[in-house]
């Protein structure tokens, strides 16, 4: 995974590969006020059909005439609460071992070589409230891809030797991550804001020793109780007929048990104290600043306005934060603002970046001033049309990709929203006005005084902090 993907991954689950996939989708995975102003760019709601496969699996279907491939997205609803306490990282190891450790009597390399020969992509991963799976392939390759997927889902090898190998690599990767200033900042944030240890184990791998106790029996139990034909949401988009899609779905899900024991953790709660925490790392070569607070969830009617606002605040070379920290303070290569969904109900606004240590006090003051101005005065007359054009361009681009549409259809379903949300993205973006976005900013963005500041730095005395620790694992002393 490259640096950028790691930067995304760290927000929630430091080494979960899926987060390389999400950024472009998260930008548009939103829900705004209902509107009727459909445009030519949008696909009509009626383009989503419901079908049932011969084996009885219901799926939603969106045909894309110009697409070259088809995407099938399957979500096994329900979370990880069924696994023993402390073993939540089965959510990572389970899907990883299934997809990388061989299946159907074939060795890992045989299976991988067979899949590599197809013009196809696939993915399987856990979220806090569902297991998600994707296949993307041209129609001609779809039956074979589905057959391979079925082997992985129904008859994974689950070899203890391979699990041990993945655990060695993952444990060392986690240890390495903890030595990085940005990871320390995000782990500190999660440890302060989240009180439920099950989420912390799943997302921060803390305590790391817990993950090392996971055995192949744990994985087998998880697999047997998780991967079934029960409680599914299935979406198909792309160039494929409903019959071809149905056949691939039946092939992929063939032989799976009919019931599952998945259940969700207790709902996530986030608590941001407006304190300043300094993580003193004397050996660090650089400093990191993270300022974070709560945003309404992605289900909020203003979510698309929030996305546009965050773009202006911190997502390009001409963003407010980049101009402040890089161009004016000359203190960072990149200082960004972003919003990150921690769960279907919680989103976090983060202003962050590596900062020259000696400039930290000035940078904190400048960022706070810029942010205050942003939420007070909102987006400017010149900024708004530029930001909206960029959003529309990206939204239209998402609408060309079967994988994005299938993902968004599934995501809407998991959020309890109509799947048509996935297809009306462009028209919803078009209804945004500067006034509506600025109203959303002033109403929903956290005040700077309600936000948590975390500074990871080699200089213990660079700023006055409410709490000083040397590692994220010590945050109890800050609470």
């Amino acid at each position: 995974m490259n640096q950028a993907a790691r930067n995304q991954a760290k927000r929630k689950n430091p080494l979960a590969i899926i987060f390389a996939l999400l950024p472009s989708i998260l930008f548009v995975c939103t829900n705004t006020r209902a509107n009727t102003a459909e445009t030519l760019e949008d696909t009509s709601d009626t383009d989503i059909e419901m079908h049932t496969t011969p084996d009885g699996h219901q799926f939603s279907f969106h045909h894309m005439t110009e697409a070259r491939r088809a995407a099938i997205s399957i979500a096994w609803k329900g979370g990880m609460a069924g696994v023993p306490n402390g073993k939540e990282n089965i959510g990572f190891y389970g899907p990883f071992l299934m997809t990388n450790g061989g299946a159907d009597g074939r060795k890992p390399d045989e299976l991988a070589a067979e899949f590599e020969a197809l013009d196809a992509g696939a993915h399987l991963y856990s979220e806090d409230d569902a297991i998600r799976g994707f296949i993307v392939a041209p129609t001609a390759d779809l039956p074979k891809a589905a057959e391979i997927a079925n082997g992985i889902l129904a008859r994974p090898t689950l070899d203890a030797r391979w699990l041990a190998r993945f655990k060695r690599r993952q444990t060392d990767g986690q240890l390495d991550a903890r030595k990085q200033v940005n990871q320390q900042a995000w782990m500190t944030l999660r440890s302060l804001a989240i009180s439920n240890p099950r989420y912390l184990q799943a997302w921060s791998w803390h305590p790391l020793e817990n993950s090392e106790t996971i055995t192949i029996d744990d994985i087998e139990n998880w697999h047997q109780s998780s991967i079934s034909t029960d409680e599914l949401t299935i979406a198909v988009a792309g160039k494929v007929t409903p019959e071809e899609a149905a056949s691939a779905i039946d092939t992929g899900l063939s032989g799976l048990p009919e019931t599952n024991k998945r259940k969700n953790f207790k709902p996530l709660t986030l608590d941001f104290d407006s304190q300043t925490v300094l993580v003193h790392q004397p050996d660090a070569d650089k400093s990191y600043l993270l300022i974070a607070g709560s945003l309404p969830s992605q289900n909020h009617p203003d979510d698309l306005a929030h996305a546009l606002a965050v773009g202006v605040l911190g997502q390009s070379k001409q963003s407010r934060l980049q101009k402040t920290v890089r161009n004016e303070q000359r203190a960072s290569y990149g200082f960004i603002g972003g919003k990150y969904p921690f769960s279907k109900s919680h989103e976090v606004l983060a202003l962050e970046g590596e900062v020259e240590t000696e400039k930290l006090p000035n940078v904190i003051a400048a960022v706070e001033k810029a942010y205050k101005k942003f939420i007070t005065k909102g987006i400017g007359v010149v900024e708004f049309p530029v930001a909206k054009r960029i959003m529309l361009k990206r939204s239209r681009s998402q609408m060309e990709k079967p994988s994005s549409i299938a993902y968004l259809m599934t995501e809407s379903d998991l959020r309890g929203l109509p799947q048509s949300q996935a297809l009306s993205l462009v028209s919803r973006a078009e209804t945004l006005t500067r006034a509506s976005v600025n109203q959303a900013i002033s109403t929903n963005f956290p005040a700077i005084t309600d936000m948590l500041r975390i500074i990871v730095t080699p200089n213990r005395n660079i700023i006055q902090a409410d709490c000083v620790i040397e590692d994220f694992s010590e945050v109890a002393s800050c609470e």
Binding site: M1, A4, L21, A67, R69, A112, D119, G121, D176, S316
Partner: protein
């Protein structure tokens, strides 16, 4: 697809460059035909090309200057610092400061070993603006002196971001330094903290005066423009630019045989050791360079694959020698190549044992029974993907850029596919033999700091 090692700079600070699987999942599936028009005669440039994409939503402009860190004789990293200065200077309206305008052009720049590029994209009606901005790359740098000097600090922060917590990159830098001692190939694109501190705007200007000439630059424009629409814009912005006499690239100097070398270092950010095995591969004299370039791409894919004739299979699948391995083949501008194997050895495997296994496996790959079928599977997969994506706009633009910077002329996707089709088993074997026979080897191991 085929990457030139490069540093992507502003504004793609946290841009995603995902691995193949994610690309496969996310590839846009709507595509349209295109052709490349040579419009060089309407400019002072070495080359000016239009990839006509009638139904593209935006115009992309890429200016590629054949000068990078290999051409720099000043403090290491200066070509990259210059790129920063030029990016800011060219991107703002003359006479104004850098933050004075808000634009919906998406612009950026990068520096590689032997190229520097400036690119932007926007709606077709902004083509005139984009070309004006691009042509300003050749103008004098117009930046506040304090800002220009302090951009050095931003480069320092970029170094911190990309290198300080990246042990493998540090190991690579040391290996190259020793292996190619005294030759431009030893240079690192970013430099280090010491060299960065020695940059000055004046040094950067000197480098610019020497290399930023129209006769050393090519333009690739893609989007919904016709040659008739573009010609007057080229004449307006790209005639009467500085041409001058180009110095010879320093890397043309005959490369004395690089040195086999071994480097060991420690890093506090590591919990387990990592190993790099590096081989210098002399140019293949008997193979057309375009064919060599594409064959190299296929062989790298093969070595990384799970096929029976891969390098991954003996190291990662058959025996647990490594926890992870990545193999790359990079072409140098003198047409030599470098094989790079990055591995994370398993705890019970010693360095010598792993290196011997790598060497033995490399020497045997082309004689494995399934070599032909493995190669054919990789080639057919590449052809299948490329044919499917051949009319996707950014694929066309990427292939044109990569072929221009490596082969000297931009290729259409159709031309690239023809070359790919012409690559045979014989070419792959020749390349693998050259790799196996090379005795110039770099070995580097980086250990956790105790």
């Amino acid at each position: 697809m085929l990457n030139v090692a490069s540093i992507r700079v502003i504004p793609r600070i946290f841009a995603i460059r995902s691995f193949f699987l994610i690309l496969a999942l996310l590839s846009p599936d709507i595509a349209h035909p295109a052709a490349i028009h040579d419009l060089t005669k309407h400019s002072s440039l070495r080359g000016a090309y239009l990839i006509e994409q009638p139904d593209a939503s935006v115009v992309n402009v890429q200016l590629l200057i054949e000068a990078g860190e290999y051409d720099n004789e000043g403090p290491e990293g200066l070509a990259h610092y210059l790129e920063h200065l030029v990016f800011w200077s060219a991107g703002k309206p003359p006479g104004q400061n850098i933050d004075s305008n808000i634009s919906d052009l998406t612009d950026g720049a990068w520096t590689s070993r032997n190229w520097t590029a400036y690119h932007n994209s926007g709606p077709a009606e902004k083509a005139d603006n984009m070309l004006r901005q691009t042509a300003r790359v050749f103008s004098d740098i117009e930046l506040d002196a304090k800002f220009a000097t302090s951009e050095r600090e931003i480069v320092q922060r970029e170094y911190d971001l990309r290198v300080i917590e990246n042990p493998l990159r540090q190991l690579y830098n040391k290996l190259y330094k020793r292996m190619y001692r005294g030759h431009p190939f030893a240079r690192s694109i970013l430099g280090d903290r010491d060299t960065i501190s020695r940059f000055t705007p004046a040094l950067a200007e000197q480098f610019k005066a020497r290399w930023y000439l129209a006769s050393n630059a090519s333009l690739i424009i893609s989007g919904p423009l016709t040659p008739t629409q573009l010609e007057p814009l080229l004449k307006k912005h790209f005639i009467n630019l500085p041409v001058g006499e180009l110095p010879q690239h320093a890397w043309h100097a005959r490369l004395h045989k690089p040195l086999s070398t071994s480097v060991q270092m420690t890093h506090r950010g590591l919990s387990t050791r990592k190993l790099i095995y590096l081989k210098h591969v002399p140019p293949l004299a008997d193979i057309d360079f375009a064919v060599q370039y594409v064959a190299q791409h296929l062989v790298a894919k093969l070595l990384n694959s799970s096929q029976p004739a891969s390098l991954t299979k003996p190291l990662y699948y058959d025996e647990f020698y490594v926890r992870s391995v990545r193999i790359r083949l990079l072409l140098q501008p003198d047409r030599s190549a470098v094989l790079l194997v990055e591995a994370e050895p398993e705890d019970d495997v010693d360095d010598e044992q792993l290196i011997l296994t790598i060497e033995k496996s490399l020497s045997q790959i082309s004689s494995i029974d399934q070599f032909e079928s493995s190669f054919d599977k990789v080639k057919q997969k590449e052809l299948q993907v490329l044919r499917r994506e051949s009319d996707i706009h950014n694929v066309q633009t990427t292939i044109a850029r990569n072929t221009l910077t490596i082969l000297g002329q931009p290729m259409t996707t159709g031309q690239f596919i023809e070359v790919l089709e012409s690559v045979t088993l014989k070419h792959a074997i020749a390349l693998l033999n050259a790799i196996a026979q090379s005795d110039t080897i770099g070995r580097g191991v980086i250990y956790p700091e105790k």
